[in-house]
């Protein structure tokens, strides 16, 4: 019996192996040579993404990827237009613009907007939109004002927990804790949509907050709020945008096809867009080199040379400046604050002069030169040079000057101790600088900072923590010094980060308290046009520059790898996929007979 079975198996094994090997080589050959994948590729744009989209639903989608995809599938009330000249965002309806487009602004077709026009009430307490009447959802139902009102109810429903509910903060009733939708949003007919506010709202904010993406009421009205997130409808979104969802293989890829019936403004140029999940950076880079993917975001500067050398059809596009890194110094004695709720200066970093000394002691340019090269810019405050309408270009960056730093420290009473570390009243200037693990740029910067501080007699240890742990410690104001970063929004609204009420301003991690900053933020917000607030922002920047609540290090240009077959891509800080509707693909020479 055993003999028999043994005899039966034995001749099979080598055969099986042989078969496997032939299969492998055969299929690698067939895929290399025949034009099947090549022709499919010519009509398919492949974008790599770090992680899968969460919800293809404008109400609950939270990740940037989701927002990018949602933007292609769903229609918008207004078209956004970014003006690189001023750094201002313009809002465009079919027949109206908030302000005339500057010649440098990359215009997008106003026909993609669902609104024909709008009227802001003179008292700024309401805004009325007139919608176009010919737009339809993909299933043929007309898009009406009721879809907007319905969507806003979903945005505001606490059970649904939309991450965008902040946009409803000015609607009638929001001041009393609950938006009164019947009064706040009126739909007298299918093409008229009125939003009412409880306080006067500047037009540009009203436009931003009332132009959230609608969802089709007739599809979603049967779904209970507690089942909104679980609903299978999230897997097959009904939109009206330039693309439709064709297939979504969770955690692998997501394929969009050009929406042939789209009139907002027209079907997408590229036939298919595939978003491919590639979690590992090295592999994403490899796929860009082999041409398997066309777009890889956030390429590290150190990889540029090898990338463009190995494949001349790759282009690196830089956008910025939106992201900065900083070293945070705890301004207040946090233990005392946690115990008593009262403030007293932090024993090391409580004095503005000490913080200024630390900034002077850190060679920020060396970090830029060593890691970011041309893709880093010295940072003075958190107002980006890209927001030209508010940026103060007269501020001179604090120079790298260690003798000045020493002078400042000694004036503050920090004198060298026996062990070479500065001391004041018996307290050594020694602390731990925390950051999140797995970020080579911050890793590099931390080491430079440690070295710089050692040179002036300050003992700085470095500790990297897992991101979740690090950010929890940061939020609970548990650490004295840290290195982190912020990505700024297109609207300047720093109250969350610098407001004096530490309960409300949850992101004021250092506990920086300056009532003038609160005043300036509120004054700026009260202006009906953002440009009118320029003088407040200038003062704001001067104060931050002098007080150094944190040491602003550098702005980082985000660098995106593009295959050169993509044509017409215009990137700006409003997004990598800002005008993806207008991109085209150059056919590969391989397919030509």
């Amino acid at each position: 019996m055993t003999k028999k079975s043994n005899n039966r198996i034995r001749p099979f094994l080598p055969l099986l192996l042989l078969a496997l090997v032939t299969l492998l080589t055969a299929c690698s050959k067939s895929n290399r040579k025949d034009g099947l994948s090549a022709s499919a590729k010519d009509s398919t744009l492949v974008i790599s993404m770090l992680a899968d989209a969460d919800y293809i639903n404008p109400v609950i989608g939270a990740s940037v990827t989701s927002a990018n995809i949602t933007g292609l599938i769903y229609p918008t009330l207004l078209q956004n237009e970014f003006d690189p000249e001023t750094g201002l965002l313009n809002y465009v309806a079919m027949e109206k613009k908030l302000r005339p487009s500057s010649p440098k602004a990359i215009g997008r077709s106003p026909k993609s907007a669902l609104a024909r026009s709008w009227t802001m009430a003179p008292d700024h307490l309401s805004i009325t939109y007139i919608l176009r009447n010919d737009a339809k959802w993909d299933d043929g139902h007309p898009i009406t004002s009721h879809d907007f009102k319905f969507a806003y109810r979903m945005y505001g429903n606490p059970v649904i927990a939309s991450p965008r509910q902040q946009a409803l903060a000015e609607l009638v009733g929001a001041d009393r804790g609950q938006v009164d939708f019947d009064k706040a949003i009126e739909t007298p007919d299918d093409t008229t949509l009125i939003f009412r506010f409880f306080k006067p709202v500047p037009e540009y904010i009203a436009l931003a907050h009332t132009s959230m993406t609608p969802i089709p009421e007739h599809i979603w009205k049967e779904v209970k709020p507690q089942e909104f997130r679980e609903s299978k409808l999230n897997q097959k979104p009904i939109g009206a945008g330039t693309y439709r969802l064709q297939a979504w293989n969770k955690q692998q890829d997501l394929i969009l096809t050009s929406n042939k019936s789209c009139i907002l403004p027209k079907p997408g140029n590229i036939k298919r867009i595939m978003f491919r999940v590639v979690p590992d950076y090295t592999v994403r880079l490899g796929q860009l080199q082999t041409g398997d993917v066309d777009v890889v975001e956030n390429i590290k500067p150190e990889d540029f040379v090898s990338l463009t050398k190995t494949n001349s059809s790759i282009d690196v596009k830089a956008i910025g400046l939106k992201v900065y890194d900083y070293v945070g110094w705890m301004n207040i004695d946090q233990d005392y604050f946690h115990k008593t709720g009262k403030f007293r200066p932090h024993p090391l970093f409580g004095s503005a002069a000490v913080r200024l000394a630390l900034t002077h002691a850190i060679d920020r340019q060396a970090i830029i030169d060593g890691f970011l090269g041309d893709y880093g810019v010295l940072c003075n405050t958190d107002i980006s040079p890209s927001l030209k309408w508010a940026y103060d270009d007269t501020i001179k960056p604090h120079a790298f000057d260690q003798s000045l730093a020493v002078k400042l420290l000694e004036k503050e009473g920090w004198l060298p101790g026996a062990d070479g570390i500065r001391q004041k009243n018996g307290k050594r200037f020694s602390f731990t600088l925390y950051s999140n693990a797995g970020n080579p740029r911050r890793n590099y910067a931390c080491v430079v900072i440690q070295q710089n501080l050692k040179e002036i007699g300050i003992d700085c240890k470095i500790e990297f923590q897992e991101s979740n742990v690090f950010f929890e410690n940061l939020h609970n104001r548990k650490i004295d010094a840290w290195m982190a970063g912020w990505s700024i929004g297109l609207e300047i609204d720093p109250m969350d980060v610098w407001g004096s009420d530490l309960e409300k301003s949850r992101f004021n991690f250092p506990g920086y308290i300056n009532p003038r900053i609160d005043q300036l933020c509120n004054l700026a917000k009260s202006k009906m046009r953002p440009e009118e607030a320029r003088s407040y922002w200038i003062e704001y920047q001067k104060i931050l520059h002098n007080d150094q609540p944190i040491t602003f290090l550098y702005w980082i240009k985000e660098t995106q790898g593009f295959n050169k077959r993509i044509q017409g891509a215009e990137l700006n800080i409003a997004g990598t996929f800002y005008n993806i509707d207008d991109w085209t693909l150059k056919p590969s020479p391989r397919v030509a007979p």
């Binding site: 902040q166 955690q251 082999t290 979740n468």
Partner: protein, 321 residues
């Protein structure tokens, strides 16, 4: 034997529950917040609170545990926090086949290569070939898998583009037809399975070599040779069968290793399998998914051990269960 298996399975139930309970408390006591993503400027402070309420994280820990226990006893492992509220069993149903395919292919390749190399180095003991195979095996055995995987990608996907860098299928593979689709899948699996199995095969080869050397010195082998049997028959029929006894038991216990290896491989090659799901779930503090994954891998380890014990009894009549 059936009684033995049933007994082992019964013991496994409280064991796995213990593991799950421990996991339940450990992940909740660990720092980090599943709603942390929603704590950022521009997002209303209410959102994180609402999300936590949705996940049932505002209840006291014992209440959460009792609720969770009730659900799990009904077979409901809950919905994933980080994967758009997908039921976790659905997430696992999608990812387990991927990992199983890799694991089974790896297991086959492991043993096929391991046994062949082991037998050759035992038969040709102390020759140049043996030394070469030994050194090569040790070289691969001591190499970290993730690094090896990256090197393989650089070599066979970038320098000599024979295999794809990542993914389970080509763009547009749906249109290849079933046969083409499977071929494409195998083509994509070639590199990762090679990486995983070379490491394992090297280990198994050492085992086979050792056990084969022991067997070859036995009296009955000398008898077989004295009978005038061909060397081939002596080695493959008489020696190998006995030499494989200890190796067979490795089959069960190597499953957990293959699974943990698949973890790196899946992240590097971007396969949507269990390993990647687990890693991402841990970073996102996706409690239900972490627990369900622990359940699956715990069950697999218990079953793997049981399998190796049973296999031992099957191949060696001297052992009675």
């Amino acid at each position: 034997m059936v009684k033995y298996i049933l007994k082992r399975l019964l013991i496994a139930v409280p064991l796995i529950f213990g593991v799950l309970t421990l996991t339940f408390f450990i992940i909740r006591l660990a720092p980090g917040d599943p709603a942390a993503f929603f704590i950022q400027p521009g997002i209303s402070p209410k959102v994180a609170e609402q999300i936590r309420a949705q996940y049932g994280l505002n209840d006291p820990l014992p209440v959460q545990y009792v609720k969770w226990l009730g659900n799990v006893l009904h077979g409901d492992f809950g919905r994933s926090f980080s994967r758009a509220q997908q039921p976790v069993l659905e997430v696992i149903a999608e990812s387990l086949p991927v990992t199983m395919t890799i694991a089974i292919l790896t297991l086959i390749a492991n043993f096929a290569f391991g046994i062949v190399i082991g037998v050759i180095s035992a038969v040709r003991q102390n020759t140049f070939l043996d030394r070469f195979l030994t050194v090569t095996a040790l070289f691969f055995y001591s190499m970290p898998e993730f690094w090896f995987a990256l090197m393989m990608i650089i070599l066979f996907a970038l320098k000599f583009p024979l295999f794809p860098v990542s993914g389970l299928n080509e763009v547009g593979a749906e249109n290849y037809g079933t046969f083409g689709f499977v071929l494409d899948r195998i083509w994509h699996l070639a590199l990762p399975v090679t990486v995983l199995s070379i490491n394992g095969a090297a280990g198994i080869a050492r085992y086979v070599r050792g056990s084969m050397l022991e067997v070859i010195r036995q009296d009955y082998i000398r008898t077989a040779r004295a009978k005038g049997l061909s060397e081939r028959a002596v080695i493959l029929k008489h020696a190998l069968r006995n030499a494989l006894l200890p190796v067979v038991t490795l089959m069960g216990s190597s499953l957990p290793f293959i699974f943990s290896g698949a973890l790196f491989i899946e992240v590097i090659f971007a396969f949507p399998g269990m390993g990647r799901v687990t890693v991402e779930a841990i970073f996102a503090r996706d409690y239900p998914l972490i627990i369900a994954n622990t359940f699956v891998s715990g069950a697999l380890i218990v079953l793997g051990n049981l399998l190796s014990d049973v296999l031992y009894a099957v191949v060696d009549p001297r052992i009675k269960l």
